[in-house]
C-alpha cells in the first residue's frame, strides 16, 4: 500500500530541500521497500500509482518542481525500458558504490576542517549525495570521531553592558579572560574555562564568594593603575554576575577574541578554535563556538522574488516550469513576462505540429530538426525530448575497415547526414557476417567522431565492422558494414643464432595462434615448438633460410596461416680475434672522415663499433652478439682491401673522442678485438709549405688546446713510402715551424693533430698540401792552380745524386761582380751534357781571358731558364 503522506515527508520533502533533486535510489524514489519488491504487473502498477501521485502534486506549487522532475525522469526511463526491478537494483548498487566513495571524500574534507560539524551541514552534504546518504555520512563521521552538532551555540546578538570596559581593563591587566581576575593568583587558571553548561572556572561554578575573595585580594594591593583596573573589573563582572548575565558577558568576550580569526579568508573550525583555546576556553567548546561563528558568517539567503524566479526559469529554457509558476502569480504581476512565455508556448506548439506533419510525410530528419528547436525553447518538456529521441538518425553513407598495422583494425565511416547534432556512433564487430543490430556482436566502442580502432581483434577469422548511428540508446539507424577483414599477425622478435653446425631460431607467437609452422627454402618442414626450434648437423658456411608462419583459427575448424617471416642463418666457424686495428689518415682523405685499417682474422666477419667509452671486455673475450650490439653503434661502410693485404673502411668522424673496437663475429658469437681511440680534434689550419733547397719548411696555425701534430710526407706517386715526424708546439715555436728533408722531387705532406692522454693517442683529421719538386743539387767550384807560372783554372762539378747533367757553360765577366745570368759575360768553357754520378765529379779546364785584371766566373745551364734543366747549380763564383 502506497502511503502518500509518509512518502511526501520522507522522500519528497528532503528532495525539495535538496534543490528539487530526486532521490538517486530508484527504490526510494518509487517508494518501494527493498524487502518487499513487487513482481511483474504489481511492479508496474505500483509505479503507475506513484506516477499518478506525482502528477497530482503538480497542482501544488511547493511540489511542482520536484514533481515535474520526477515525471520527466520517469518518462525517460520508460522510453529506455528501464522501469524494471533489475534496473532499479543495478542502479541502487551503482549508486551505493558511488555514494560510498563520495562519502569517504566528504568525510576526509570535513576531518581536515576540524573535529566538529553542524548537523545542517551534514544534511546538506548528504542531500547532495542522494537520498539515504545522511545516515551513512553520520556513521562515517562518527567513526572518524567528528562531533555533529544538532544545535549551534547561540551567539550574543549585541555587546553586553560594560562589555567594552571589561575588555579594556582585561587588556590593561594582561589577562586572557576577564574572569581570570577571580582566580587566586589573578593569573591563568589551571583548568580551562567551560561555558556551554554554565560558566565554570577551574572546574568550579563561579560564586559570590569568589568575588569577595577577589575584592579582598585587590584591597591588599598597593594603590596603582592595576589595582584600579582590577577593582573596576570586579565591579563590572560582579554586576553581570548578580544580574545573571555573566555567562553572556564571557561568551561575548570569547566571540570577540575569536571573531578576527573567523573573519579571515579560508578560516576553518580548527584554526578559529585555536584562538578560543588560547584565551583559556575548553577545546571542545572552542570548536563548537568556532563552528557557530563560521556558520553565522555564512548568512542566510534573502527571500526570493517569485517574478524573478519565473524569469530565471524562462531564461534557463524551463518553459513549462515558468509557465506553471507564473500561473500561480497574481495577474497584475509580470505582465510582460507572461506575454513572452505565452508566445514561447505557442511557438513550441507550432514546431511540434509541424514536426508531426513531417513525420507523417516520411521526413523524420526534418521533424528531428524542428523538435530540436522546440526542445531548445522548452528544455524541461520531457515529452518533446522523448519524441526527439525516438527519431533515429540516418545511417552513415559508407564505412571502411582495414588492418594496416597487422594487429588492430581501424574502422572509419562517412558521418551520418543528420540535420541535428548529438549523433553518436556505435561500432559492432561480428565474425563471418555483418551485425544486424547495434547489440548483435562485440561492441567495439561508441564515439562522436568518425573513426574507431579495434585494438584487440581476434586473429584468423573474417571480421565485419558495422556502424550504427543514434541520438539515444535504443534508437539506432540501420547498420552499415565494412569488411571482411582478416588478421593474420606474424610471429615477432625473431632471433637467429648460429654456431659452427647448428642454428637456433626463437620468436614470440601470439597467444591466440593455433600453431606455428617452419619450412626450409625447399619447402620441407622443420619441427618446432610455439617459441622456436634448433636444427643440428648443418654445413658450416652455407646459408639456411626458414619461413616461419603463424596459424590462426578461421572458424569451422579451419586454420589459416600467415604469410610468414623469413629467418636466415649461416653456421660459421668460431670467430677469431682481429689481430690489429689502426687509424690511418691517408692522403686526400676528407678531414671529416676516419679511415680504419685492420687485418682480417682467420675466421669471423669484422664488425667495427664505436662508443664514447672503451668496451668492458678484454681483448679476446668471447661474448654473445646481443652483448656486442649493446655496445656502441656499428660503423657501417664498405670495407676495401689495401695493398698490404689488410682492409680499410672510411667512416664519418663524429665530434669528440670515440673508441672504435673491432669485433670478430660468427657462429652466433663475437670476440672482442683491439680498440683504438680517436679524437676528432680540430685540424690545423692555414697549412703552408715552402721549399728551401731539398728541404720543405712547413707552417700552420695550431688549433686551441693542441700541442702535438703528426707530419707525414711521401714522394708524389709513391704513397707507400711515407715518412713521419712528430712536432710539438714548443719546438714549432722555438725552431720556427718544421723543416722536413723532402728531397728534390714533388712531395705530399699531411699534418694531423694528435691528442695524447692516459687512454693513449688519438690522431685528428689530417690536412694535406702538395709541394712541387726542385732540381737535383749539383755543386760546382772553381779551382785555380799555377803551373810553370801559368795560371790554370778548372771547374769541378759534382753531385750527391745521380742525375742527367745538362750542358753547362762557364761565363766570365770583367770586374769584381759575379754574373747573375749567362748573358752578362762571355762563355769561356763548356761542360757537355752527360750522366753525373755521386763520387765521380766532372772537371773541365776554363780558359780565362785577360786574367791580369779582376774578373769573375759563373756557371750556368746552357739554354735553360730557372726550372727547365732539372738541376740546381750551387757554388761560389770564381775569379779574383
Amino acid at each position: 500500500m502506497f502511503d502518500q503522506d509518509k512518502y511526501r515527508q520522507e522522500v519528497l520533502d528532503p528532495a525539495r530541500r535538496n534543490g528539487n533533486v530526486p532521490p538517486a535510489d530508484l527504490f526510494t524514489r518509487y517508494a518501494i521497500s527493498i524487502d518487499r519488491i513487487p513482481r511483474g504487473d504489481q511492479f508496474s502498477a505500483h509505479l503507475a500509482e506513484v506516477l499518478k501521485y506525482w502528477q497530482s502534486l503538480t497542482q501544488r506549487r511547493a511540489y511542482l518542481r520536484i514533481a515535474e522532475t520526477l515525471i520527466s525522469a520517469h518518462r525517460q526511463m520508460d522510453q529506455a525500458g528501464q522501469l524494471t526491478a533489475e534496473h532499479f537494483a543495478g542502479e541502487r548498487d551503482r549508486h551505493t558504490a558511488e555514494t560510498g566513495q563520495k562519502i569517504k571524500e566528504v568525510v576526509e574534507d570535513m576531518v581536515a576542517g576540524g573535529q566538529v560539524v553542524a548537523a545542517a551541514t551534514v544534511a546538506r552534504v548528504a542531500a547532495g549525495l542522494g537520498g539515504g546518504a545522511e545516515a551513512d555520512l553520520r556513521r562515517e563521521l562518527t567513526k572518524r570521531r567528528i562531533r555533529i552538532l544538532d544545535e549551534l551555540w547561540p551567539l550574543p546578538e549585541a555587546t553586553p553592558g560594560k562589555g567594552r570596559d571589561v575588555l579594556r581593563d582585561k587588556r590593561l591587566l594582561g589577562l586572557r579572560l576577564a574572569i581570570d581576575v577571580l582566580a587566586a593568583d589573578a593569573g591563568s587558571p589551571a583548568r580551562p574555562v567551560t561555558l556551554r553548561k554554565g560558566l565554570r572556572l577551574n572546574g568550579q561554578p563561579v560564586t559570590a564568594q569568589m568575588f569577595r575573595e577577589a575584592r579582598d585580594r585587590a584591597e591588599r594591593r598597593a594603590q596603582d593603575d592595576r589595582k584600579t583596573a582590577i577593582e573596576n573589573l570586579l565591579v563590572n563582572l560582579g554586576d553581570a554576575f548578580e544580574k545573571g548575565n555573566l555567562d553572556q558577558l564571557v561568551l561575548w568576550e570569547l566571540t570577540e577574541a575569536m571573531r578576527e580569526a573567523a573573519d579571515m579568508p579560508l578560516a576553518t573550525v580548527r584554526r578559529v578554535s585555536r584562538e578560543g583555546v588560547r584565551v583559556g576556553l575548553d577545546s571542545n567548546e572552542a570548536e563548537e563556538l568556532a563552528l557557530a561563528l563560521l556558520m553565522a558568517g555564512e548568512g542566510t539567503a534573502a527571500p526570493r522574488n517569485p517574478t524573478a524566479e519565473v524569469e530565471e526559469l524562462f531564461a534557463a529554457g524551463s518553459l513549462r516550469a515558468a509557465e506553471r509558476l507564473i500561473a500561480t502569480l497574481p495577474a497584475e504581476e509580470g505582465v510582460e513576462l507572461r506575454q513572452r512565455i505565452q508566445e514561447a508556448v505557442r511557438k513550441v506548439a507550432a514546431l511540434v505540429t509541424k514536426a508531426q506533419q513531417e513525420i507523417a510525410a516520411g521526413r523524420p530528419e526534418h521533424a528531428a530538426e524542428l523538435l530540436t528547436e522546440a526542445v531548445r525553447e522548452a528544455a524541461d518538456d520531457t515529452d518533446l525530448a522523448g519524441r526527439l529521441r525516438t527519431l533515429a538518425p540516418p545511417a552513415v553513407p559508407s564505412a571502411r575497415a582495414g588492418a594496416a598495422s597487422g594487429d588492430h583494425v581501424t574502422t572509419s565511416w562517412t558521418p551520418s547526414p543528420a540535420r541535428t547534432g548529438g549523433v553518436a556512433y556505435q561500432v559492432v564487430r561480428t565474425r563471418q557476417r555483418p551485425a544486424s543490430s547495434a547489440t548483435d556482436g562485440e561492441v567495439v566502442g561508441r564515439t562522436d567522431g568518425n573513426e574507431i580502432v579495434d585494438s584487440r581483434p581476434p586473429a584468423g577469422a573474417e571480421l565485419y565492422y558495422t556502424v550504427f548511428a543514434t541520438r539515444s540508446d535504443g534508437v539506432w539507424s540501420p547498420g552499415v558494414s565494412a569488411g571482411p577483414v582478416r588478421l593474420l599477425p606474424e610471429v615477432t622478435d625473431v632471433s637467429v643464432a648460429a654456431d659452427e653446425t647448428s642454428v637456433r631460431v626463437t620468436w614470440q607467437a601470439r597467444s591466440d595462434a593455433s600453431r606455428v609452422t617452419v619450412a626450409r627454402a625447399d619447402g620441407s618442414p622443420v619441427a618446432c615448438s610455439r617459441g622456436g626450434f634448433t636444427e643440428e648437423g648443418l654445413q658450416p658456411g652455407r646459408e639456411y633460410r626458414y619461413l616461419i608462419r603463424a596459424g590462426y583459427d578461421a572458424g569451422n575448424g579451419r586454420v589459416t596461416d600467415s604469410a610468414g617471416v623469413t629467418a636466415t642463418a649461416t653456421p660459421q666457424q668460431a670467430p677469431r680475434v682481429v689481430p690489429d686495428l689502426a687509424v690511418e689518415p691517408l692522403p686526400g682523405q676528407d678531414p671529416g672522415k676516419l679511415r680504419l685499417v685492420w687485418t682480417a682474422p682467420a675466421s669471423g666477419t669484422v664488425q667495427l663499433r664505436s662508443a664514447p667509452h672503451r668496451p668492458r671486455w678484454q681483448r679476446g673475450a668471447e661474448l654473445t652478439e646481443t652483448e656486442m650490439t649493446g655496445y656502441g653503434t656499428e660503423l657501417v661502410a664498405r670495407a676495401e682491401p689495401t695493398p698490404d693485404g689488410r682492409f680499410a673502411r672510411t667512416v664519418p668522424m663524429t665530434q669528440g673522442r670515440i673508441f672504435v673496437t673491432a669485433f670478430s663475429v660468427g657462429a652466433g658469437r663475437a670476440v672482442c678485438g683491439p680498440t683504438v681511440s680517436v679524437t676528432n680534434t680540430a685540424p690545423v689550419t692555414r697549412l703552408r709549405a715552402r721549399r728551401i733547397g731539398d728541404r720543405v719548411r712547413l707552417s700552420w696555425d695550431w688549433p686551441p688546446g693542441i700541442g702535438l701534430v703528426r707530419v707525414r710526407w711521401w714522394p708524389e706517386g709513391a704513397e707507400g713510402h711515407v715518412e713521419q715526424a712528430d712536432c710539438w708546439l714548443r719546438s714549432y715555436r722555438d725552431d720556427g715551424g718544421l723543416e722536413i728533408p723532402a728531397g728534390s722531387g714533388a712531395v705530399h705532406v699531411s699534418v694531423a693533430t694528435v691528442s695524447r692522454d692516459a687512454e693513449g693517442e688519438a690522431v685528428g683529421s689530417p690536412v694535406t698540401v702538395r709541394v712541387s719538386g726542385t732540381g737535383v743539387k749539383v755543386r760546382y767550384r772553381f779551382v785555380e792552380s799555377n803551373r810553370l807560372f801559368r795560371q790554370r783554372t778548372r771547374i769541378e762539378v759534382s753531385t750527391e745524386q745521380v742525375c742527367p747533367l745538362p750542358e753547362l757553360i762557364v761565363v766570365q765577366t770583367a770586374g769584381r761582380i759575379a754574373p747573375l745570368r749567362p748573358e752578362q759575360g762571355t762563355t769561356v768553357a763548356r761542360i757537355p751534357a752527360q750522366r753525373l754520378e755521386p763520387g765521380k765529379p766532372v772537371s773541365v779546364d776554363v780558359e780565362v781571358r785577360n786574367p791580369r785584371g779582376p774578373y769573375r766566373l759563373g756557371c750556368f745551364v746552357d739554354g735553360h731558364g730557372d726550372d727547365g734543366s732539372g738541376v740546381v747549380l750551387m757554388g761560389t763564383p770564381g775569379g779574383r
Binding site: R686, R688, R690, I692, G693, R695, R697, S699, W700, D701, Y732, R733, D734, D735, G736, G737, E739, T774, G775, R816, I817, A818, P819, L820, R856, D866, D867, V872, L873, M874, G875, T876, P877
Partner: protein
Amino acid sequence: MTRLTCPYCYGRFAEKEIKFRCGGLHPIEGKPCAPGPDPVRGQVLGDTKLQLPVVEGNGKRLSARCAKCRIETTIQICPNCHSQLPVHYSKINNRMVAMIGAKFSGKSVYMTVLMHELIHRVGRRFDAAVTGADERTRKDFSNEERDLYTEGVLPGATQTAAAERGRAPFVFRVSLGEHRRFRSTLRHTVLSFFDTAGEDLESDKGVAENVRYLSCADGIIVLLDPLTVPNVMEKFGLDPSVLPQAANRADSPINILTRVTEVLQKLPGNGPNKMIDIPVAVAFSKVDALWEGLPQDSPLRQPAPGTPYFDEGDGEAIHAHVQALLYDWEGGQIDQLLTKNYRTFRYFGLSALGAVPAVRSPGQARQKVGGAIQPHRVEDPFLWLLSRLKVVTTGKD
C-alpha cells in the same frame, strides 16, 4: 792596458776603475744600507730609481767592502753609468755588436728573432748557451719574445735615442765550447745589442748621437730593407701593400749607409785615407718578399748550413750573389760605397718572420704576424761577425 767597454752605456774604463754596489745585507751590528738616489744613473741613463750605495774598490778584485755596513759585496758596476756589470765581466771576452738600420727595416723584430734563434736552434747547432746577462734583459726580452712568438704581434716603433735617454741595450752572455779536465774550451762572451731607432739614422744629428755606441762596436750589423731600394718593388712586381705605410717615406739604404760611414770615419784613428776596420755585415731583410722573384738556385733560397762553424763557402756565395743583385737593382752604389770605405764587409740576405705579416687593420693596436715565425738565415750576419771576432770558428764545406 786593455780598456773595457760598458755594455750598457758604451763608456770605456780600465778594469781597476770598476766600482761596486752594496748588497744591502743585514750586518751583525747596526742597520743595513738603505737605497738612495744615484745621481750618476739619473744623469747618464735617466734612471731615477733608488739604488743601494756605491762602494769604491779595486775593480781588479772581484769584491769590495762597503764602508758603511762593512759587508763585502761582489756586485760590480760600471764607473760611468753605475749599471751592474755581468758577472766576471772584466775576466771574460766582451764584444759589442751594434745594429743599425733604417726605420721600418725590421730591427726590433730581427733582434728578437735573432736572440730567439741563438737561444734555441743556433744554440743547439753550436752547442752554445745563450742567456740574458742581466735581469732587465731577461725580463724585457722575454716580454718581446712572448709578444712575437706567443701573442703573434709585432713590436711597436722603437723610440729614438733622443726621446728615450734611458733606453738600455740588451746584453746576452754566450757560452761556447765545453769544460774538459785538462784543456777547457769553454769561453764566455758578453754581447751587447743596441737597438737603434730608425729615425736616429735618418739625419746627421741622429747619427751623431749614436757615435759612442758605434765607436765602441766590435762589429756592426747594418740592416737594410731591400724593398726601399729604388726600383726593386717594380722589378719584382711586388704588391705595394707588403711595405709598411710609412716605409714608403723611409730613407734609401745608400743614404743610411753614407751617414753611418761618415760617423765611423770621424772616429778617432780613422782618416780620409784610411779604411774603416770595424767589420760590417750588410744584411738585407725581408727576402721572403723577394722569394718568388729569385732564381731557384739562388743561394738566398738555400737553407742555412747546419755546421757547427761559420761556413765561409756558403757566406761567399751569398755575398757574391747579393753583390750581383745590388748591381742589378741599383747599379752598385752601395757596393761601391762599401768597397771604398770598409776594409771588411759582407752581404747577407735574411728574413726574420719568414713571411710578409698581415696588413694591420684600422682597429688593431699592433700589427699581427699572421702565422708561425719562420726565420730564414737570420743568424748569418751575426755568426759571420762572431767568426771575425774569433768567437766561433770558420770552415769551408
